[in-house]
């Protein structure tokens, strides 16, 4: 995020200078820029901006009787958004994604901290282990949880041998949070690791030398200086969690529990594209606010 703004800022004066020598040079550099930027820009315009504009425009139209869109302006989609039925789902998704983010932070911070203290060779091994799950298909890994946690699954049969259970682990909000934390924990650990690794260990020693206990050193020195990593990690976990529909679908029992499922159902089952778009807009609005907060905190750090 910050890097793109920084490189943008340095690129601007350079391009102005390169334009100075004359038309031909300017024209050549513009063509060159287009060649390099072209594919990326085309990708963004065709696959992101146009669909986004379409989705946003649907929010003010009525749904057709048999699906589709009737181009007749209306505000009813937004009033419907305020219906407690849907508002609850949005708030519920916010809650589940926030819980998953907080748990991932509480688990991820000590993990990243320990990895950063390891000898060089072990650091690499630990980091590879952290990203190793990404080498297996996401769906397979989620199904593995079902196998583990289901009624006759591995966990219950082990507990059964000890004379406990069987318990119903699957298909509740706890399972969804477990799935979210499990899936996105590496995205928390990596930015945290990068931030902690960058921290000069002498700052911690200086703090101890000035009389601070380890806990005080953490609160006053380590945490504030790794805060950008914390914010980035939280965003990396929260964003895919908030709009997720696969994990609640598979581990949450298939009900429309999270806003991601709701949007999917509006488009594919209820065939109400305008309302689906409105829900998508609400989701986007929350994420944009979060990104703005992150950009603001990164600039302050």
């Amino acid at each position: 995020m910050t890097r793109s703004t920084v490189s943008g800022a340095t690129a601007a004066p350079r391009s102005r200078r390169s334009r100075a020598p004359g038309r031909t040079a300017a024209g050549r550099s513009a063509v060159g820029r287009l060649v390099f930027l072209g594919p990326g820009l085309a990708y963004l315009i065709v696959l992101l901006l146009v669909p986004l504009a379409l989705v946003l425009s649907y929010t003010i139209f009525r749904r057709g009787r048999f699906g589709g869109v009737v181009y007749e302006a209306t505000g009813e989609n937004f009033t419907r958004l305020l219906d407690p039925l849907y508002l609850d789902v949005i708030v519920g998704s916010l809650k589940l994604a926030s819980i998953a983010t907080v748990i991932a932070l509480l688990v991820g911070y000590p993990t990243a901290y320990l990895i950063a203290q390891l000898p060089r060779k072990w650091k690499t091994i630990a980091l590879v282990a952290i990203v190793l799950p990404f080498w297996t298909n996401f769906l397979v890994r989620i199904y593995a949880w079902i196998v583990l946690l289901s009624g006759p699954g591995l966990v219950n049969s082990t507990l059964g041998d000890l004379g406990l259970g069987p318990f119903e682990f699957l298909y509740n909000q706890g399972t969804i949070v477990t799935g979210l934390v499990y899936s996105y924990l590496p995205l928390m650990v990596l930015p945290l690791y990068a931030a902690i690794e960058k921290l000069d260990p002498q700052l911690r020693e200086a703090s101890a030398n000035l009389g601070a206990r380890p806990a005080r050193t953490f609160v006053s020195v380590t945490l504030p200086l790794t805060l950008p990593g914390v914010v980035t990690g939280c965003l990396f976990v929260f964003v895919p969690s908030f709009g997720n529909f696969i994990i609640p679908e598979l581990l949450g029992g298939g009900r429309s529990i999270m806003v991601g499922n709701l949007i999917r159902d509006q488009f594919l089952k209820a065939r109400d594209w305008p309302f689906g778009s409105t829900l998508a807009l609400a989701l986007l609005a929350v994420l944009v606010v979060l990104l703005l907060l992150q950009a603001w905190s990164a600039r302050r750090a």
Binding site: D200, Q202, L203, E205, A206, S207, A208, N209, L210, G211, A212, R213, P214, R216, S220, V221, P224, L225, A301
Partner: protein, 344 residues
Amino acid sequence: MLQITGVSRRFGDVTALADVSLEIRQGEFFALLGPSGCGKTTLLRILAGFESPDSGTVTLDGADLLGQAAHRRPVNLMFQSYALFPHMTVAKNVAYGLERERLSKAEIRDRVGEVLAKVGLEQMAGRRPQQLSGGQRQRVALARAIVKRPRLLLLDEPLSALDKKVRAEMQLELKRLQHEVGITFVVVTHDQEEAMSLADRIAVFNAGRVEQVDEPVALYERPRTPFTAGFVGASNLFAGRACSAGLAADGLGVLPGVSDLPDGTPALLAVRPERLRLDGEQGQGVLRGEVADVSFYGGVSHVSVAVPGRAEPVLVATPGATQVRAGTRVALSWAPGDGALVPQ
């Protein structure tokens, strides 16, 4: 006051400290002098509690220091790289140690103001470390360490990042501060001039060992080991055996010096360049040779003289500019009292 006894520390197959014993007195300005990598920082880190020795003991005022956690020791360290907190202002950095003592806000404010005035940084109180020059950062680091009024202040190469002029100013300032606050200072340096000008006593380190502990003048005039003779100030060293008149040098005859060594002991004779007298060819001389090179340094000139029978030229320092030119044949002499014999 601080008693270091038999401290050793190894890192793998590197011996950073080998059986180091030192006694540092109350209110003293003590310097640890030695080349890079000889274990000076390691010793300070042991005193501050970031490193533990493999063996040995350290006591401060008779109480064991090594058993105490780093944050409880009445010892403050000024880091070689300053280690200022980048997310805090200058005032916050300095106040950090006092806040840990749970002092009242008013007292903290007074003491921070006082110490910033002492190092001349009152105007910078609200700045972040990144907005300061190297010399200013160094003064913040110093202020942060002395504001705690520790029993013992450790300074790791405090002036090494500064240019020559600022450095000289800061040396004076350190000395003045030490008089004012009355804290025991232990300063680490690899610059022998700095050690000489600042310290009451100097310990010369070499490869993890203490070579000699002495006052600056004694260290300069009576080095006790070949390393000290070579490292502290420039010296002309002659190898040979001790005899009653000084040194029977290999291939150069008897050279004058004061010896308390038994005759026949293998020894080095150290003569300081500024103690050598340069005469014309006809003059009296202990050694004769030909001028190889003359360099003018403003206050002094260095004349190097090639002496037959000796591989390295003999260095002579004479005040002001000199008339001799390269190629002139000269005679060299010195008083017996200016030749120090060092057992080899």
